[in-house]
Symmetry: D2
Subunit: 287 residues, 4 copies
């Protein structure tokens, strides 16, 4: 399961017009690239064309070094924004966590089992509770206390760690701190959070308590990219579970843990596999 | 399926204390009542005891005429609020609908097939679109146009129809009008509405459009009792369906219709079967 | 919702190799066809490439009359099996039904509301129960009694009706008769059945009774193309609902009706929208 | 969450007749027991009455030592089979596992977080892979190799370990060995297995491969008590996930792991909380 494929994935966003698919398909054919997966989406409202295409690098004349040069003409003609991702260059993650360790333990176990094709560069926590878990899985652990007073300083430490480890993606695995606008701006579409409600219901604090209070019959969890407005970023994945009048707040919290684990792990996996293309505060999830 | 059982159902709400179950069970045993179903719920926060018990009237010494008299002692001792419902006295429904007919058609078809043990006394609409459907199923149809100006007058006509037909329950099957406070007060816990979102997300108008705009990955529907605050009444049932970036607003509306049908029909059936006990702006749904 | 698009859909199956997407995309570009949707699937095990591409006929130089001629070169080069479907040529359905009318009523209501872009040419039943429903929706109804003795004769009558009405798709909406091998062979991948279990569990008769007997916690429904082996054809769609020990066989049957309606209607819609490509006794469902 | 309640739970099975609830409720009232939860089920087909009642031992005159004596009259009058369980006497588990460690890791993490009110007495494996995980959570680990030749001997070792540790429940957390009839007989309704399909579909080996082969659109998992017939014991819980033609066998296995974890952990929790009453090869799950 952990054998790493030798493939490249191109993600493209551009204004919709005739000829885009033909241009990309021809380009890849001329460079002897065998397409493994291709998926596209057209957004009529915004007149956007979005595409994901993955090909085998083995035997292809195109590679990471010469792609930009060769592709420049097409990119320019169709006014494309594009990214090229190589399966063999595994993204590097930082996981931030507070005291609740269920999402962290889940991600670490999945990573160890080969489900997540990434490197976990570090765990950062404002508590010490998860240090032993980090050690068990052999991941560097950094304890950084965050208070109202030292927030800027604490984040500066975090940035330094991210830079030193060349972190690509930051996962908030129930990290009970609000990031500063500066933090969020540094990592656009590179911070994934798990919120313990089906957004946009119960934005903000204590969603399970408020769900219990309201008497809903379903609880949910939502993974999303973090933007400057709390819990308003592009939604990546959501799921729900059924509850009844018999369930107390504690039961909601327990059932919610299973939702949070699954909904966060899907978002992380899809991001790592370059399946997510955000636009207009939404996400396209390519199959 | 449509053979009507000869049973009585007692719904009880009272302060929680020792001895309630023993008192009710002894009472029924002494009156030769064979218990068919019993279910109870205790709400610690509000110190409430809620119970539903159903028994066979055949061979029982207790019946609708003498129940109140015999039960008075227990009711008074435990400070009970109680209702007694007879399966053979079928509740009488009024269904209110605008132009969207999918919930109405669904309820009528279920009723005809014996799934809903009630009488449908009338259909009231502010449009003529559903008149032919009403005729097909043999249900009286009343066309009452509602405008800002004539609202009080229109509701007066509706009340008169409800009174004349001895209506027990009013079902808003996508009735796109807001009822007056006076209307709502007249029928406490006797008006069921279907809202086309998973409340409390997307309260108010055009929930599918707002769900599309927000980029959610799930859409929902909620059936609830109508109270004075719009979409804030006790929730009876909710369900969701998965959507993707490929789904346009029209697809949300189409998928939503299936949710609305199922979520409304469950609420109506549970109400008819006396399975719902509202308290503290929530509902207990007895199995 | 019922405005009919002026589009063409091409479904292609061929051995997988380099250059297929480029060839099709170039072909459409050269004929001024604006691609609206394209989706593809590669099956590594069978070395198959499967594609669905839909384009706007308005302003395109390619149309139903000249497509085969112009496309012949590509089709031959890549050894393609292909079908071209026009949105404006609505498929013609025959619905076969016995006494249970819930799937039929559901399909008719969806069709009337514009959810199914097809013509319903006829309803055939071995009972008279659904005649009134057919009349309400204005669909020709044919009563053909089927017995062990007259089966061949009855099917001959059915074939004659299908031929006269140029039927493209036959929907078994709880038609409690087993079709002859001859019937099945005449309409390959053109007969859709709904089976009331999650296949391959509970193949054959009385699946709800057997599910109850086995004590399962979920019931299901499966829509599939009919092949010569009972309940073994390519599965199109499945869904399930949760049950508990409180549910009796009658409850399973009731909950199952909602599953059957939804699972059958999805299969019919996907077939009509040319989203299904069967291969190797499976189906690809293009989004 | 981990504070242990001081409650007793009575599970009763007997022929259905009038007066059972009254007898039990009176009995508890006379012994000053405050009922916290009560739930019952009647099975008409087998004329059975099944009940679960939980009460607060604090302040009650009835306790574990004198219950049998005091309850003997009622038990005899109604021909009851009954069990009394004390929350403070935590059940002792043995978990058996082969190489796949996802269910084991999940159970250990839940246990550590207080979700499972039991003691995990040991982990037994025919492989060494999970030894480190056992050590991390501080659970005794026993490596017992099982071959065709030494099966009886290996099981004898296991029985000795179970006896020495006073094991109440054996959980097969993806233990890829078939237990001998003798093993099964020793622990009736005390062995819980997780099977990776929605039984009764895909009984036996390699269910994901067979699901892929059959082209199903849903995969499932089933937890059940082990009986002498493979995969035929009373089902405790089932759940499913949706798959598509894009999912390869590896994807089914990965999605299945999430199902297996959740479905097994629910069964274990319900057993520990004395919510399961098996009868007629089915289970009643009390809420």
């Amino acid at each position: 399961m952990t054998s790493i494929k030798n493939t490249a994935t191109l993600l493209v966003t551009c204004p919709d017009q005739k000829g885009i698919v033909a241009a990309i398909a021809d380009f890849l054919l001329q460079h002897d690239a065998n397409i493994l997966h291709a998926d596209q989406h057209q957004d009529a409202e915004n007149n956007l064309f979005l595409m994901r295409v993955e090909w085998d690098l083995t035997g292809s004349k195109i590679n990471a070094d010469n792609f930009a040069e060769h592709f420049a003409g097409i990119a320019s003609r169709f006014k494309m924004e594009w990214q090229l991702k190589l399966a063999q260059k595994r993204p590097r993650l930082a996981i931030m966590v507070s005291q609740y360790d269920h999402c962290l333990a889940d991600l670490l176990h999945r990573h160890q089992g080969g489900e997540l094709a990434c490197d976990i560069a570090m765990i950062i926590s404002n508590h010490l509770d998860t240090a032993r878990l980090a050690e068990f899985y052999g991941i560097p652990f950094h304890h950084i206390v965050v208070t109202k007073e030292n927030k800027a300083e604490a984040e500066a430490k975090q940035f330094a760690l991210f830079d030193a480890a060349e972190v690509d993606l930051i996962v908030l695995a129930r990290y009970m701190q609000i990031l500063s606008p500066d933090f969020v701006k540094r990592y656009p579409q590179r911070i994934i959070n798990i919120h313990h409600s089906f957004l946009p219901a119960f934005i903000g604090a204590r969603p399970y308590h408020r769900a219990f209070e309201r008497g809903v019959k379903l609880i949910g969890a939502t993974s999303h990219y973090v933007t400057e407005v709390l819990d308003e970023g592009p939604i990546i994945e959501q799921d729900i579970d059924r509850i009844s009048h018999r369930d107390q707040v504690e039961d909601l919290i327990q059932k919610g843990r299973d939702l949070e684990r699954i909904v966060l792990s899907r978002a992380v996996r899809w991001h790592i596999e370059n399946r997510i293309l955000p636009y207009a505060n939404k996400t396209v999830i390519f199959d």
